[in-house]
Symmetry: C2
Subunit: 293 residues, 2 copies
């Protein structure tokens, strides 16, 4: 199972309509709303027990992660979330668990002004738990910074720090970069933006590849989470930070406005997706597929 | 696990915003779009292997059912579908299966003008398969016929025929009543509408209960699928037909316009949700939870 190949397939299999500004492949889809200049953004993510959270994780924590993963996707599109649809498929199907889970979803959604408008619950024939959240929101025209929009000479900048997300518990209690995303989305200096969920190296490389550029990391500048090595920062996943490609003349002002925004490399003309400036790595990027078949 | 109790809980736990014309509890949610008079409709449904389809069912058939179940929900709101978001969680996670599944989704979506704009794929730690589709669409102002809008004296009318959906294969190859839903949504004589997925008795009773009315069935008039008894028609699920509450003076014209629309009972003042005119039943309504804990 190859994530890149799957994505290519999705782009081929599902033709898009003219009003779809962005279909499969970025953090969220973007649809031009009739009668307004605004874009409807839609993202969907899953949390599977035993894949994204440990089996037996508390319902409130599963709920929080499910909501915040999706908010991070909307933030990466420079938008604000508004409404959500929820599904749960479980065995055993426990009313007590669902009550706590739904309260957890509402608590997390309440923080971001999200209204849960519907959902579905099903049993599973075998023990397990699969939760999905479809999140939709709005963004203003001109704020869409797709990952393929990086330009030669742009600096790679990122919010927060990287590595050891699972070990530190960050993957459960992170704060999606909604405020930063709204600000960066409005900045003319920012050309491309995405969230980092599969590891800094893998995701920044995707931005370079889809923009037809090479990427040179300045690894000494990558902010490390407590106890993380450069390799951890490059390869561990689930950071839920935003990275962006910034015109060099605008980077200083942006980094002053957001002290947690750091310059970590630059995009250059060259072989698309080629990465330089990194050490020899033993880890590989985090793969949400959890297997490599 | 009690579906009605769960729904009551969802309505309590998730507060709605003023622009949400309908939140959890009907076939789809309805949100007033800023700057236009239109409503954004959103529905979500799951297909779980071993619950909604037999384990080992072909990917194209799973895909078709997943899409059409959701289209039926949008049809029941008098709307037209437009965009979809897709998730799959599987073990084993097979590229071959996913390719066939995605083609099946596109084939079914193509029939209804639906554009798949995004999705997510995950592995499962144990063998199994869970698929979800979130479907978005639009409806015009005034076409929303919520299930709680039935009035005393309204006739219960329904499209198509009922019973033995699983045995006949109808649950996999049905045609959602999109054209009928659009027409009935625009008709002033139609007050309430919903789709029948949990069985005619259970769903029609819901319409009565939520409208604060009793329901008197005229069982001799219920159209039966080949080989189905009245009890099958009342209690089997997965018919994916539309039922509606129609002002008596408008019913004749509607039934002439749609020969597959049949009058099957009437709503009256009385104990909310009380049902008369049905035989003693051994079956109970189909329950998608698949268990009664």
């Amino acid at each position: 199972m190859d994530e890149e190949r799957l994505l290519e397939e999705l782009k081929t299999v599902f033709p898009q309509r003219p009003e779809v500004a962005e279909g499969p492949g970025d953090d969220a889809a973007a649809i031009r709303l009739p009668g307004t200049g605004r874009l409807l953004l839609t993202a969907v993510d899953q949390v599977v027990a035993g894949v994204h959270v440990l089996p037996g994780e508390a319902p409130e924590r599963i709920a929080g992660k499910l909501v915040r993963r999706n908010v991070s996707d909307i933030a990466a599109m420079g938008g604000a979330p508004a409404y959500a649809m929820l599904t749960a498929a479980m065995n055993p199907l426990s009313q007590e668990f669902l009550t706590a889970f739904h309260r957890g979803v509402q608590n997390a959604c309440g923080e971001y002004g999200i209204c849960v408008v519907g959902g579905d619950v099903s049993s599973l024939p075998e023990p397990g738990a699969v939760f999905t959240l479809s999140l939709f929101g709005y963004s203003e025209p001109g704020t869409l910074k797709l990952r393929r929009f990086a330009r030669p000479g742009d600096l790679l900048c990122g919010t927060g720090c990287y590595g050891r997300s699972f070990e530190s518990g960050h993957h459960l209690n992170f704060r999606p970069r909604l405020r930063e995303g709204l600000f960066l989305g409005k900045s003319e200096a920012v050309h491309a933006m995405m969230d980092v969920s599969d590891g800094l190296l893998k995701d920044a490389r995707r931005m370079a590849l889809e923009s037809g550029l090479s990427l040179n990391f300045d690894c000494g500048r990558i902010p490390l989470r407590a106890g993380a090595s450069v390799e951890d920062a490059l390869c561990d996943g689930e950071d839920y930070e935003l990275i962006c490609a910034v015109a060099p003349e605008g980077a200083e002002a942006l980094c002053s406005a957001f002290p947690n925004l750091t310059r970590m490399g630059c995009f250059t003309d060259g072989v698309p997706g080629a990465v330089s400036g990194i050490p020899v790595l033993n880890k590989k990027g985090f793969d949400h597929f959890h297997e490599d078949t």
